[in-house]
Structures are given as structure tokens and as C-alpha cells.
């Protein structure tokens, strides 16, 4: 049952993607093979070309088994306390992400609450929250680093987490503004007949009504926090973690390191999102969600 319902579809999709991927890799990488052959003055056969496209050290698109073998080498075959282990590097990024994410949720929900509850907040905060997101984070990152250094918060985790939070609070805020104002007239009026204060309206009505919006935003937001954490790894002098590995891999002509880090990042972020999805399911059930 679970096989038919969940494993089979995923397997099918994964297999399809892998097939497409091999095809694309062969096609894209063959340019280089032909270039090299031309430089050497040879003309390779089709099987030689295909063979070559699967084992280039600097492919346009590495084939899946190259990535998997690199992932294997840097996770399973390395002690997780080693700097060369992707698990170790992933943990650095994960830590930053989670701190930034937590901070982002607090800030996002807090701002959304102020915006929904107060007129002044709505009128003056919302536009500036939007503006904040349109300031390229990379331009702001050095300032964040300097300020947190000046504030004595160090240069390692804190500025990176702030950068992650800076990106991740916004999706939460936008969705929560929508979600907290989603109760309809009758639902609001009911509480008004109880003479309920804004606090009760907020906790008893707005918050539960906003949950679908909240969870939709968490998935986007954790991804944003992740991106922020990775950007932070390049913008601060704390070059470590998956993002830093991608940069170094790219710069030092080790694209496989970059690809492996990229996939590790995708897997990590994917797991975070799946976790959130699981939490959502649990909460939905606890809130009497109707099965669809």
C-alpha cells in the first residue's frame, strides 16, 4: 500500500529525472569532448564520446553517478568530524539556517501581528518591510558584519544567522499578514459579541485561522533562511559550510566538490521542508482538519 501510494511514484519520478539527466549530461558535455578531440586532431566514435562525457573532471553537467560517488566519498568515507566531510560542513550551514529561521519566524510573525493589529504599524511598517527585502542582501551583508562585530557579537555565527533571518522573515510576514486577516466577518463578529479584546481575537481566532498560510510560508521561509546562511558564508569572514565549499570548489577547479555541496544543500533543505510538512500534518490533524 505505502509502496503503491508513495514509494512507486517517487521512484518513477526519480528514475525519469535520472534518465533525462544522463541524456542532458551527454549532450552538454559532448561539446567539450569534441573540442578536445579537435585540439588533438582525432575524431572519436559515438561510444567514445558517451564514455568521455561521463567521466570529465570539469563537466558542464556531471552525470548522476559522478555526483553520487563524490557525495559518498565526502560523507560516508570521511569521519564526520573532519573538515572534509560534507556532514560536518552541512552541520555548520544547518546550524546557521536554524538560528536564522527561528529568528526569522519570530520577527516575521511579530511584524505581521503588529501590522494586522495596529494601524500605525500597518501604515508605516509594511512598506518598509517590503523595502528591506528589495535591498540586495549582499550589499547589506558587509554592514551587518561590521555592526555585529562592533556590537561584540563576533564574526562567526551571529552575522550569518542575521543574514539568514533577514531573508527568511519576509515570506513568513507576508503570509501571516494574509493569514491573520483571513477570518471572515462572521467569525470576527462572534468574538466582538463576547466583548473580546484584541488579544483574545488574536489568539482565539486570528492565529488558528492563519495556520494554513503559516505552514505554506514556513517551507518558503526555511528555504530562504538556507539561502541566507549560504550567502552569509561568503559575505562574512567565516568561510565554512556548504556555501563556502561551493565557492571554493568552483574557484579551485574542483567542480565535483561544488556539485556535491550543491546536492548536499538540496538534500538538507529538502529534509527541512519535509520535516515542516510533517509538522504541518500533525498540527492539521490536531486542529480537526478535514481529510481531503
Amino acid at each position: 500500500m505505502t509502496f503503491r501510494r508513495s514509494i512507486l511514484p517517487i521512484l518513477t519520478v526519480v528514475v525519469a529525472l535520472v534518465v533525462i539527466w544522463y541524456g542532458a549530461a551527454i549532450k552538454m558535455n559532448s561539446t567539450w569532448t569534441f573540442d578536445q578531440a579537435a585540439r588533438a586532431g582525432t575524431s572519436p566514435s559515438l561510444s567514445e564520446v558517451i564514455g568521455d562525457t561521463m567521466q570529465q573532471s570539469r563537466p558542464l553537467l556531471p552525470v548522476p553517478h559522478q555526483v553520487v560517488s563524490e557525495l559518498w566519498k565526502t560523507t560516508v568515507e570521511k569521519k564526520i568530524t573532519s573538515k572534509r566531510s560534507l556532514v560536518y560542513q552541512g552541520f555548520i550551514t544547518l546550524k546557521t539556517t536554524l538560528w536564522g529561521f527561528a529568528l526569522g519566524i519570530v520577527i516575521g510573525v511579530g511584524l505581521a501581528a503588529i501590522i494586522v493589529l495596529s494601524r500605525i504599524g500597518r501604515l508605516s511598517l509594511m512598506p518598509w518591510a517590503i523595502i528591506s527585502q528589495t535591498i540586495p542582501i549582499v550589499a547589506l551583508a558587509p554592514i551587518i558584519v561590521i555592526l555585529s562585530n562592533a556590537a561584540g557579537a563576533g564574526t562567526l555565527l551571529v552575522p550569518k544567522a542575521i543574514i539568514a533571518a533577514y531573508l527568511s522573515f519576509f515570506p513568513v510576514m507576508v503570509s501571516m499578514v494574509k493569514g491573520l486577516s483571513s477570518p471572515d466577518h462572521m467569525q470576527l463578529d462572534l468574538l466582538r459579541t463576547y466583548g473580546a479584546g484584541p488579544r483574545a481575537v488574536f489568539w482565539k481566532l486570528r492565529v488558528p485561522a492563519s495556520m494554513p498560510y503559516f505552514f505554506a510560508s514556513l517551507k518558503v521561509s526555511v528555504a530562504a533562511a538556507f539561502v541566507g546562511a549560504v550567502v552569509g558564508e561568503l559575505s562574512t569572514s567565516a568561510i565554512a559550510g556548504l556555501g563556502a565549499r561551493m565557492l571554493i570548489g568552483s574557484q579551485f577547479g574542483e567542480p565535483m566538490i561544488m556539485w556535491a555541496a550543491l546536492f548536499a544543500a538540496a538534500i538538507l533543505a529538502g529534509l527541512l521542508i519535509v520535516t515542516i510538512g510533517g509538522l504541518e500534518q500533525i498540527l492539521r490533524r490536531a486542529m480537526g482538519g478535514r481529510p481531503v
Partner: protein, 258 residues
């Protein structure tokens, strides 16, 4: 003379819409005294709900005066004077039936035991024992409506505003609940404003029947009931009863034609 609990004078209300303004209430005058049981009856769309909402401070009249216990409706609302049963059940989908009924009690900070006690009591009153843990979508329409009545009764407000509370109930349950409401009313001296579409129900329950007519909504007749406070179900066969019912029906019909 008693001072009226609810004093409506010259109230107008106009809704602006995409499609021109709609006058929902026009020059409504009405006094409701403490302990009155007032029914509102009138064709659909004549402004009954709107008038009830004005009394509850949920809608602000465009013109005229409206006081409740000498306060503005909004102040009275803040003082938690109202129990309101909406025309649609409007239960919160994320709360169980018990949780929905408990909602006002939580807001008004009743103690935990008191909450549990009251929830049990009012659910019994509306015949929903055993459904406490169900979610609204697991209940039938009529059961949802009863739950919403229970919710409004749970916290013992002085003024009950009920907007077609028994619309989705069958005659037998309806009779039963009519009796319960009358008992409650006789016992507690609550002031009740009650919207209904059933002429017998209006006559059976009320001390005062307000007949309204539409476009724009206004009061066309106010009938003081001579029936005694003590009302067995059989009273519905008495000549006084039938006479009042006739008068109401005539008023209604006039409204429909007018």
C-alpha cells in the same frame, strides 16, 4: 415607567455597494424593556439581521440613536451584555463542538471547572451530549445550529440576540427548544430579541412581535402579546393565539405586497 433596555430611535442604515447604495433600515423606532421577549418577523432581506447587528454594535447606523442600558451598543458589547446566535452557525472549524462552546467562557475567564460544567449543561440543553469531541464538519446542519445556540447560552448574557436560531430544526426539536428558551427566560428575566420566520413560533414566544417590511426595511407593526408568561404548548390552539397569528400574517402579507 420602566426605562427601556434597548432604545432605538430614528435609525437609518445604508450600505454602499459596487452597484449603488442599499438602504437596509429606514427610520426604525423601537423600545425593548428589561425582560421583554421580542420577535422580529418579516420577509427575507427586510433588515432583521441588520437591525440585530446594530443593536449588538456590530453595525453602525448611518443615522439615528441607539442605546443599550443607556450605553452605546459598542460599550454594551464591551461590557459583555450580549449572547448572539448568528443566522449561520459559524463554528470555528479548528475547534471541537465542546471547544466552540467553551470559547466565550475562555475569553471571559471562567474557571476551568466552571467551563466544563457549563459546556456539559448547555450541550445537554440542545441535545448534543456525546458530540463534544466532534468537529463541526462532522455534524449535520441542524446539529451545528444547536451547537451555536449552546455557545450563545453558555455565558449567561443579560441580552440574548438570536437570528433565526431554529431555522434548521424540525418541529419536535423546535418545540422542545422553544419550551427551553421560554423556561430560561422566565427563570432569568433575560431580555431576548429573536428573529424568526415562523409565525406560530413568534406568537408563542414573544411578549412583543415586531413586523418588518422590506426595501427599505422598516417596522410596519408592533404587536404586544396579551398571552400570559406561563405558556404551555397547547396555548397555540387558543383563540387569542390564533388572533395574534392572524394579525401577524396580515402584516407580513402587506409587507410582501407593498
Amino acid at each position: 415607567m420602566k426605562k427601556p433596555v434597548i432604545d432605538v430611535s430614528g435609525v437609518d442604515l445604508t450600505f454602499p455597494t459596487n452597484d449603488g447604495a442599499v438602504q437596509a433600515l429606514k427610520n426604525v423606532d423601537l423600545q425593548i424593556n428589561k425582560g421583554d421577549f421580542v420577535s422580529f418577523i418579516g420577509p427575507s432581506g427586510c433588515g432583521k439581521t441588520t437591525l440585530l447587528r446594530c443593536i449588538a454594535g456590530l453595525e453602525t447606523p448611518t443615522d439615528g440613536q441607539l442605546t443599550v442600558n443607556g450605553l452605546t451598543p459598542t460599550e454594551a458589547r464591551k461590557a459583555r451584555s450580549y449572547g448572539y446566535v448568528f443566522q449561520a452557525a459559524g463554528l470555528y472549524p479548528w475547534r471541537t463542538i465542546g471547544g466552540n462552546v467553551k470559547l466565550p467562557l475562555e475569553i471571559m475567564r471562567f474557571s476551568k471547572e466552571e467551563q466544563a460544567k457549563r459546556v456539559r449543561k448547555v450541550l445537554e440543553l440542545v441535545d448534543l451530549e456525546g458530540f463534544e469531541k466532534k468537529y463541526p464538519w462532522q455534524l449535520s446542519g441542524g446539529m451545528q445550529q444547536r451547537a451555536s445556540i449552546a455557545r450563545a447560552l453558555a455565558f449567561d448574557a443579560d441580552i440574548l440576540l438570536m437570528d433565526e436560531p431554529f431555522g434548521a430544526l424540525d418541529e419536535i426539536v423546535r418545540d422542545h427548544l422553544n419550551e427551553q428558551v421560554l423556561k430560561l427566560w422566565a427563570r432569568t428575566e433575560k431580555t431576548i430579541a429573536f428573529v424568526t420566520h415562523s409565525i406560530p413560533e413568534a406568537v408563542y414566544l414573544s411578549t412583543k412581535i415586531v413586523v418588518m417590511s422590506p426595501r427599505p426595511g422598516r417596522i410596519t407593526d408592533i404587536i404586544e402579546s396579551p398571552l400570559p408568561k406561563e405558556r404551555p404548548l397547547e396555548i397555540r390552539d387558543s383563540p387569542e393565539f390564533i388572533e395574534i397569528a392572524h394579525r401577524v400574517r396580515d402584516g407580513l402579507r402587506a409587507g410582501h405586497e407593498g
